[in-house]
Symmetry: C2
Subunit: 104 residues, 2 copies
């Protein structure tokens, strides 16, 4: 067995983070630009508001998403990818290509 | 909100599949070539044999991995990525790059 092969803990940690149900879709939606909570919820039909709020908390804590509050009447709140979040786009695009070819 | 944006069900299904704990690591190890059960188990320190066997069943059912039995004494059994599994390499490489930059 090739002795020089070793597994990268960062790779596993990243998979743990992005592997959670809905996370990939939420990130994919935000790759299309900042969005309000209800717009995202509308675009991901089966996700509950409770789950979406929970995933946002995790994604904000991980520095992948930021919540912007606009001082308007009524107040406007949008969710947006950070640099760290946007940096996932190449991986997402490769994954999309794979899914289109191989997933039934 | 951009009306032409829509989410791809194949993308979500693919995330469900690969998002399971350990799956990413198992695929990553096999990207390095066919391996025996105990070699894989050795390379992923914290995974139980029971879990590894379970993930292999799923990955075989999804057509990502194939189990080869070599008629030798003693019998040799190896796990190997299929074309579908190997096609994940570009995504994995992008993900590795992201993890190295962004994961602590």
């Amino acid at each position: 067995m090739e002795e020089d092969f070793h597994l990268c803990p960062k790779f596993e940690a990243a998979f743990q983070l992005l592997g959670k149900r809905w996370t990939g879709l939420i990130l994919r939606v935000l790759m299309n630009g900042p969005k309000r909570f209800k717009d995202i919820s509308h675009l991901i039909p089966n996700i509950s508001d409770k789950m979406l709020a929970e995933r946002f908390k995790e994604l904000e804590a991980e520095g992948l998403v930021v919540r912007r509050v606009y001082d308007e009447v009524p107040i406007r709140i949008e969710y947006e990818l950070t640099e760290k979040g946007k940096a996932l786009e190449p991986m997402m695009n490769e994954f999309q290509k794979w899914a289109e070819v191989w997933m039934k």
